[in-house]
């Protein structure tokens, strides 16, 4: 369908059916402007994915879901994406959509931090947004044509940490990180804080696979942790986590009582099934879709949050515990609600880094 488009300056990608509709709807109208959105003309929102692509079961997919929904809700809006095959694609891809006069260009993932900075400087009249990081110029100031979307992952992780601590029968839980860094530290710190908050004596194993794509490693780390007595493991490790889930399923099938806590999306919907249930206890979701939708919407309404840092927190449901929670006990769910309130009130300040976590632990 796209191939018939006679206008080179509207290279919209039909990632899914909905987007297709959006594109078709707008095809009737004149879409050939290179200026910012004006009256009666289509609003365009596009995103550049990282290597994972729009179906990575993680934030790219989630972001694309948000954009797709946005395109559905506003038939006048055109949405699209470009997938990057490797890191060197980020800059040209961002440049490409910016040069087409896209009204808001999203960079999905903190890895595009530097590239978006360069491209934003080269295209000063274009609007950009980046997910998962805050971009500043050389003086440490925010950049007026970049909106920064971040999440309070530590807050959501706190909740699943608490759940894990309450439901662990061995008083021994685990955390598997993808690649060690600022971002994943937020998951780890929040998770550990939540668990210790419930049970200061709980044993928590942590390990980084140093890879987001090594299922084999995920399986082996999971194997070692479970073998060592942990019964609930939270992962923030992308596809590496698939190996963990595999190991958990096999142990479950073998009669062991082990669980996985998923990440980013409601993972129980797509994974974890075995003969007698699902090993995914619950998941810590991160509503990238929500965030992207909101930023696109505000931009369309002329309220582009350029030069701002938008943190999506527990309070605005930007992070939280997944819908699938059948395996979570009543008691734990009550506690989750209680803690949610405490975090929102500021009664609990969830740590984000190793230092903050140590401080937090000391204060218990």
């Amino acid at each position: 369908a796209c191939g018939e488009e006679n206008n080179e300056s509207t290279p919209i990608n039909d990632g899914g059916n909905n987007a297709n509709e959006a594109a078709d709807n707008s095809a009737d109208e004149n879409t050939g402007n290179n200026e910012a959105a004006g009256e009666g003309e289509a609003f365009t929102a596009q995103m550049v994915t990282d290597i994972g692509g729009v179906d990575d079961r993680s934030f790219n997919e989630s972001a694309w879901a948000g954009l797709t929904l946005f395109g559905e809700d506003y038939p006048n809006a055109e949405v699209g994406y470009v997938q990057s095959s490797d890191a060197s694609d980020y800059a040209p891809n961002l440049n490409r959509i910016a040069r087409e006069g896209t009204d808001i260009s999203f960079a999905i993932g903190f890895l595009m931090e530097d590239d978006i900075k360069t491209v934003a400087a080269q295209n000063e009249d274009q609007n950009f947004a980046i997910v998962d990081t805050v971009v500043t110029d050389d003086n440490g100031d925010l950049i007026p044509n970049i909106a920064n979307i971040t999440f309070a992952e530590h807050e959501g992780s706190f909740l699943v940490g608490a759940v894990a601590a309450m439901q662990s029968e061995t008083d021994h839980i685990g955390f598997i990180g993808g690649v060690e860094g600022e971002l994943i530290k937020k998951f780890e710190s929040g998770f550990k804080a939540g668990a210790k908050f419930v049970n200061p004596d709980i044993e928590i194993a942590t390990q980084y696979a140093q890879n987001f794509n090594d299922a084999s490693k995920g399986q082996q780390i999971g194997n070692a942790m479970y073998g060592n007595g942990a019964d609930i493991i939270f992962h923030a490790a992308g596809a590496t986590g698939n190996g963990l889930i595999t190991d958990a399923i096999e142990r479950a099938q073998d009669g062991e009582n082990v669980w996985v806590i998923g990440v980013d999306q409601d993972q129980a919907l797509t994974q974890g099934d075995w003969d007698d249930g699902n090993v995914i206890l619950t998941s810590m979701v991160k509503r990238v879709d929500e965030a992207v939708y909101q930023v696109a919407e505000s931009t369309m309404n002329g309220e582009y949050p350029g030069g701002e840092v938008l943190e999506f927190t527990l309070e605005d449901a930007g992070v939280g515990i997944a819908e699938s929670r059948e395996n979570v006990s009543e008691e734990a769910l009550t506690a989750v609600e209680e803690y949610t309130d405490m975090i929102i009130n500021g009664e609990i300040v969830v740590p984000k880094t190793d230092e903050e976590y140590e401080e937090f632990e000391g204060s218990l």
Partner: protein, 320 residues
């Protein structure tokens, strides 16, 4: 954790990690013993992983239940064997450089499999398979106190099958007429030809066997460990299998030893953080351990590996 419980964790992990490498290396053994270098093992594993997952998903949806992953593996074996024909035609019939052809095979596998997945599933990765290969232990043997669980741990059925295959491959390669002919073609194709052996046909069979085994290796990795297929499901395992083949001196038992060694080193590096005493060792040491050990082993006591004589030489009738 005491030594014994460490071993209880590490050994199964090592054997599970070794299985796909071992199977793929056995495949490479056929191909290289016939004189065809197979750098394309990586690509064959990719196609195997693709075929294994897609096959399992299809058979699952057709209601085959627990049999689905097994049929998925068979499907992958067929896909692998067919896909290896690219390498066979290019390097045997068209006398392409075998290394070039193998490299192309790797590119093609990733491109083709992901492309198909995108066209069929409309996304860059497949769904996760629901049914898995069961983990088993050998009934009586694993009941032997203490060591029973160590030597016959609870691992995937496929792991035991792989070990049985080592024996079968050894038998086929060293005890049957087929094996004798296979090796003769890899050592001295002209001589084999004068003895009435169809060199190219043997090589085709060998390369397709490597496709079948590589396909099985990839499929088993995907089904038992990854659970689904994406462009990055197989990253480097094929090269490790090639290393195992060379490390094992083109011998099935040697390849088995090498694959287990790789699996063991990997399992140790991963479990180390959970082992008191080793948990303070910087992780980087543990991460590079398997590779450093391999290099040291090769430099130290394994020594020179002698490849089949006619490896990487296309056979042209009437040449000398």
């Amino acid at each position: 954790m005491d030594i014994l419980s460490i071993l209880y964790t590490i050994i199964p992990a090592a054997l599970i990690a070794a299985t796909p490498l071992l199977l793929t290396a056995l495949g490479g053994l056929f191909s290289e013993r016939s004189g065809i270098v197979n750098i394309g093992l990586e690509g064959l594993m990719v196609m195997g992983a693709f075929g294994g997952i897609v096959g399992t998903l299809i058979f699952e949806s057709l209601g085959f239940g627990d049999a689905a992953p097994w049929m998925g593996i068979l499907f992958a074996i067929v896909i692998g064997a067919i896909f290896s024909l690219f390498h066979a035609v290019a390097s045997i019939t068209l006398k392409a450089d075998q290394i070039v052809s193998g490299v192309a095979l790797n590119f093609l596998a990733v491109g083709l499999s992901v492309f198909i997945v995108k066209e069929v599933f409309d996304r860059g990765q497949t769904d996760v398979v629901a049914s898995r290969i069961p983990r088993v232990e050998i009934p009586l043997l694993s009941d032997i106190p203490v060591i029973g669980q160590l030597i016959f741990p609870r691992v995937y059925a496929t792991t035991y099958i792989a070990f049985v295959l080592v024996a079968i491959v050894w038998y086929v390669v060293f005890k049957t007429p087929f094996g004798l002919r296979l090796r003769s073609v890899g050592e001295h194709p002209i001589a084999a030809d004068t003895m009435g052996i169809n060199v190219n046909r043997m090589r085709y069979i060998a390369v397709m066997l490597s496709g079948a085994f590589g396909g099985a290796g990839g499929a088993i990795f995907a089904i038992t460990t990854a659970g689904n297929f994406a462009g990055n499901t197989i990253v480097g395992q094929g090269f490790m299998a090639l290393a195992a083949l060379i490390f094992g001196k083109w011998h099935p038992v040697g390849a088995m030893g090498a694959a287990i060694f790789f699996g063991f080193a990997q399992a140790l590096s991963i479990s180390a953080q959970q082992i008191p005493g080793l948990d303070n060792v910087p992780q980087v040491y543990m991460l590079i351990l398997p590779y450093v050990l391999t290099i040291l082993a090769l430099a130290g006591f394994v020594g020179k590996a002698e490849s089949p004589k006619a490896l990487n030489q296309p056979y042209e009738k009437g040449s000398r």
